[in-house]
Symmetry: D2
Subunit: 303 residues, 4 copies
């Protein structure tokens, strides 16, 4: 059985009923067909395998937080960790409780508050933030068709009261510097990035390749920084289900409420999966199960 | 430079002053010489490297929680996760707050409450709990001289009011079944196990070898269970500094308040380090720094 | 309409259905007839008014905490407040969360942890704790038939794991001194005191009379201490429904899970009501409504 | 000794050193002379007593929350309690933790979040909110010189990030309806009201007079509503020191970070005191001590 066949077999072995629910808090996301399913795996020597609607674009949402983090880390290096931590939170992704106890320093850059701080950092560096962000993502992917979904971005802007609260709260501790509306606008654009599974696995492949783009040979971040970005994904990438993901799948990964999950095996491969219905923790229900099967059958996890 | 030389060099590069403090809450531990330092690395093909007081025994304390967990996991398999979770906690290691919110189910088996539940499970299985536990640890280590430190165990029994509170609290939710004093006695013996760095790295080597003892060829746990045990160490092994450890060291590991830390690279090696002074999170201050240097220089972390 | 008629009218005006539920966590209490209802009002010049089963004994439970507090306050005076606070808690009555944040000092003597500390204080003073407590309660009531209900006390001892956890937790902070089982035994006896509405209003009347027993003229506590005891009842007497009680009833009062509530108007009267079904906050559902009507119609609250 | 003499004597008996600290988080308040001290007592039959700088205006800050609450309660009556609770919070006055647990419903109208909801209610009713509010306060006081301190209001607007966070957070739960900046502007004006002790005690006297202005005979709120407003002050008026205030002073009262405290004895008198240095809980340090002495010596508290 080749890897393409394995992807099909894993899909066939999913439960007949998906008990997950499509995210509804962003109206534009609620319209997605819950039966969509795509997967794409890609090795660092650029062999590609795919299944299902792997070429259909979806909203990558929080997955994009890894890419903005990479940009900020390139610019701030270790100074970045004075404004955001690297510890798992143990509480849901938009909680203010821990932020209050920690004096406005988010636990990690993968939850909403931390990702907002990262965006605040980038606004201080990028001359044209949205354009520069998109250029970076396109260069990682090697695909200039990757773009924002403006309707999703607009929909998010209209439902961002909780994020506005997070911003003002962190500002009261001195950890936000830019204008609230400008920051929210940038953040909502970030989350609205649309990719298909193939593009998504391509954009993360440098993290499986010690920080070097396998497509261009360009170094994106140092080996040490790559290791640290992967560690953050491992411990914080799936909200308060990071332990479950490490336990079942065993790879660094990141999920989004659009139903995407991307995971990678260092020095080996990257895999992206998309299935919109989410479990109670906000992660793709079938995506988790599919990746668990994938790492079990493909062989070694990092552990 | 060979690995023995590397260990010496890493030691030489530690800061001149150790800002950590030796644990004092267990009186017997407070007497340890803060300048003690030992390290031992061991590959799955049984090459050994050492530095300093690597043959001097110390109290492994919470590190033993991984060994008791292994015993319980052998017996209960996945049923075990109905009584204890696999998520990092985000709060200090002996917190009751999360336990109250989670209805008496500890977040993970590495914090005190979770380790007490694991001991409660073992009391239901083992005819002679302390003797059986020791036999298991000795067989893993291949060394029948490993034993409990009775003075440390007695000292812990005398300062275990917080653990008694945890037991009664979990019992009020139905998650403890055995007699409190019997359970505390077993738990305090577990934590009092004494090993040197060489023994410690030997006892954990099966976790770097897909669950098989490299010394005897005996399978201790399945490949899948090994992967899961390593995932739990990765996410929960260093209390609320697990993120920092993954970030800086990048390996699954476990620490104890005796100043020991053990870490392992799957399918490669296991390394144990001992330096009694602890940082504010309760982990060996020099141990963390030493392991960070080790993985940087030895090469690839798992990420 | 005289006061006896008023009591009957208020009863007649209660809703036809009682949405409350009889406490079940102490097995012995679960057997009580939910339709029982009694009320007794008593002025400081000893005029008495009653309705329903006002002569039928019931388990006063937490109401007794005011009486043990009075005994401890007599002995320790203001030193008492080094071991227990006087602030409302904002959390349910048996929460460990706040206790952890406050380093083992209970917020107030009306929640379980605070009442346990009060019992711990009394064990240091009373030669024969249970006998001495009962003698004090009998003297306040002027009725030597008041006693413990041994079956209720035994039933509570059998379900006191949570209280045992509270004790061990506070002991770990140094705020409990006596043996756990001895303390639990005393506490369970305290809660098992049985009175009828008439006895209950008599036992609290000194708090409406500036600290002096209206029956014997004996001073129980000073005017200043009386004022403070009433303030504690006002702010903490009905768990996390103290605000609602102040808002609707407007008198200092104390409730118990046996369905009793006692309230008093300083320099005027004391009133006790009994109806076993409890609302979601653990206070007598009809008792609250009855007292709200009573203070509305009898006239002035303290506010 | 007459009451004027009593006020002087109580002042003379304060400790020689004031350990409190003047509030600094609103820059304009930080400039106040810490040695200022004023007191004014006023009976419902309009006898007046004063001491010190009782005619010097100061920023009443949170004390004004009782007056805006009164306006909102007049208009919404019991519907008001669907948007804000009446329970003490047990946490500091600007905490978001409880707000998260309670789904955006503030515990009471005396903390910042609750007062913001009250302002949001008023914005729906008042054609000219600031003007209408001031007219109401002037009519209660019988003094048309009462006004906003525009410099304080501006200073507060410049430091209101935490309140902006509270607003957005409650809006995310659907409990805020008006524009954020408009709401903050109104709220900051409310807090900037300036009065002297004499004016302050006059403005609260209706609450000691069953809801009727003793100056004009006009009914402000019903007897029942008066009782409820006083109950809220009693339980929630001094942030998380409400228990201590009830315990030591024994009257319903309200404090502000400007150093003012007003308290009242129903059907008797109202008393206002001003001393800028605050204790750790944010209440006037000398104000608390002075009022404790006052109620001890003037005689009966409400308890």
């Amino acid at each position: 059985m080749n890897v393409n066949q394995l992807l099909a077999k894993l899909y066939a072995e999913l439960p007949p009923e998906n008990t997950g629910v499509v995210a509804s808090y962003i109206p534009e996301l609620a319209h997605v067909d819950p039966d969509k399913f795509g997967a794409h795996a890609l090795t660092i020597d650029q062999r590609e395998f795919s299944f299902g609607e792997s070429e259909e674009g979806f909203s990558i949402q929080s997955i994009a937080k890894v890419l903005s983090l990479t940009m900020a880390y390139q610019r701030e290096n270790k100074n970045l960790w004075e404004r955001v931590g690297v510890e798992p939170s143990g509480t849901p992704f938009n909680s203010l409780i821990q932020l209050e106890q920690d004096m406005g320093i988010p636990r990690n850059p993968m939850n909403n508050s931390g990702a907002l701080v990262i965006c605040d950092v980038l606004l201080d560096y990028l001359p044209e933030p949205k354009k520069d962000l998109l250029a970076f993502v396109q260069s990682l992917t090697g695909d200039s068709t990757v773009g924002f979904n403006e309707r999703v971005a607009a929909s998010e802007r209209g439902t961002s009261t909780r994020n506005r609260a997070l911003i003002e709260f962190m500002r009261s501790f001195g950890n936000i510097r830019n204008n609230t509306e400008r920051l929210l606008d940038f953040y909502c654009s970030l989350c609205s990035i649309e990719m298909n599974c193939r593009q998504l696995s391509r954009s993360f492949l440098f993290l499986a390749n010690d920080g070097v783009s396998p497509f261009t040979g360009e170094r994106i971040v140092s080996t040490s920084m790559t290791k640290r970005l992967n560690a953050i994904m491992q411990l914080c990438g799936l909200y308060d289900e990071a332990g479950e993901f490490a336990f079942r799948v065993g790879l660094p990964g990141k999920s989004g409420v659009g139903g995407g999950i991307v995971a990678l095996r260092p020095r080996d491969y990257c895999v992206a999966v998309w299935s919109p219905p989410l479990n109670k923790k906000g992660n793709s229900n079938f995506g988790m199960a599919f990746l668990e099967g994938f790492t079990s059958q493909v062989g070694e996890s990092i552990f």
